[in-house]
Symmetry: D2
Subunit: 184 residues, 4 copies
């Protein structure tokens, strides 16, 4: 099994990335920093006469990279109690891929994947981040993906995540689980 990490952070080396680093330390993963790609907002053309029109940005390349992997780790800062807009733009586009003849089995292929979420927020994230976790669950349910686990860390200032010993402990735990998936 191979792993892709999909990062929704908008700055480098922030707390979310640092916590995720603990999760993937020593594992072979493909890192996808969404901020490095141009991904336009979806234009809902499900019901247009001609359906969705081709969009000329980086989305198709990104989704193709994602689809190569068996385990997806969504690593996102919690902005306003949900995933970053950067990550939401990416996920919104799945509605187009669901109707893309180049991805005829998108739903079932995605449905084979295992999902993990690593999120960091500053405002009582272990409570106020829970609606976001429920949303990830609904997304997983839609595709039949297996939502295997999540970590919610608390941090605001650079480096602060290292003081969230609970999150760090959970990260090590998640790493062990991933290691077993990769080398059963």
């Amino acid at each position: 099994m191979s792993i892709a990490v999909i990062y929704g952070s908008t700055r480098e080396n922030g707390n979310t990335e640092a916590l995720t680093e603990q999760v993937i330390d020593g594992l072979s993963v493909e890192k996808i920093h969404l901020r490095e790609f141009q991904i336009l907002p979806i234009k809902d053309e499900r019901h247009s006469a001609n359906g969705f029109q081709e969009v000329f940005d980086d989305y198709n390349n990104v989704i193709e990279t994602v689809m190569k992997h068996d385990i997806l780790i969504f690593s996102t800062p919690i902005y306003w109690y949900s995933m970053s807009g950067t990550m939401k733009l990416f996920i919104d586009r799945w509605s187009q891929t669901l109707r893309d003849k180049n991805h005829p089995n998108f739903r079932s292929e995605l449905g084979k994947k295992k999902i993990y979420v690593v999120a960091v927020g500053g405002d009582r994230p272990s409570i106020k981040g829970l609606p976001m976790i429920q949303q990830f669950q609904y997304i997983c349910d839609y595709f039949g993906m297996s939502f295997e686990g999540y970590i919610i860390g608390k941090a605001s200032k650079p480096g602060e995540i290292q003081m969230d010993t609970k999150a760090i402990t959970c990260a090590l735990q998640m790493k062990e689980t991933l290691r077993k998936h990769v080398n059963p």
Copy 2:
């Protein structure tokens, strides 16, 4: 009291707009269609040496328009169980405005506003849309905004919202409430 409607829809005249139309029928409102503006993803520079850098897009104009009004109606389709990426990009940028010297009272000014949410989704939205409602509540709590009410409609195909008699009834109800706010 004056009203702004902030639309997160990505197509014209969709179900979300149609439901919102029922809410504002006969009222004087300023309509802000976010899809018509360029709003870039926030770059989190809260902790950078130089802080947030000026962004050259339409966000500042949009937020200034928003701030003129007392009542804000967030009108969004439910994409993947939360607000559209288009709307999320807009709200994410509030983190920058909170630190913008041109908006020294942004938090307290926003805290005076009354908030309504009108949302439409296709996949059991009256249940699966609830985490999004909780997120709006957390956003309101952060600023001290008063979250006055929400409607969640169910529709997928064009025009289908008209068959959701419960949502239509709630829309008329909300219109009456708004009318009293505007003409007490």
Copy 3:
């Protein structure tokens, strides 16, 4: 189709009952006031050598009455952000019925029913009552019951529910839906 209303209120003629009265006005329903019955807390004996032991209280009679009907309306005040303890005691006992040889098809029989929830709370119930709604959904999902709708009213003092025009409007709406189920 026939309707049972299962009341979790602990006082007579309170706001929850008053709101429910609007829902069932003119309809033929069987009313089950849980407070009038002795229903003991479940004793979890799923894993005991001898399994669940017979409990001598009113539960079996109540569940038999419930099972005769096609539509169940759970009418509960919101106590501490969830259903009343009186109602929870009743639902907890379902775990025993699931293993009761007198109810060999309990899960599938329950799975045929349509569920409505009418709830009234005093502390921002349209937000703080949502976790309870999610829990009802999970219960419905477990059995395969169809969760058809819910109303959350706001009231504390006697009679106050009549001022929640939104809830009253929704109650009338729900009544129309029920009427169509009963006389299609």
Copy 4:
């Protein structure tokens, strides 16, 4: 600081108790097994002419024991996606204590306490237990209690909780936190 553990389990030595045992191992705590006491359902008499009437059961003794402690650990199995009816009966009665002249400072006294929740469920509890966590948060908010942390374990059969290494790890983590509170 002293610790009380309030158990909502209905059988002895179940998974919830076993997980809680890991949390309190080596700490001095007062254990309150609610199943050993008679606690009647609240009768809502907030609005009766004579107010709440004295109830002759064990509740008053239990709440007095609880109030002696600074840290409360609510240890409950997840029954139907929320706390056990046994625990709910106890918490529902707080509405009476809030109006009990023998507890004139109930709200503010409770507001000084630190709260932890340890819960175990069998049906995807890390997702389906989240509404219950949100409800505990709302309860804490009402009183001003500090909701310090929660663990959700997954287990059904006796002893199964020991296989939930994530929950066990979190329990050890919580124990360390408690130890620091008790011996700062």
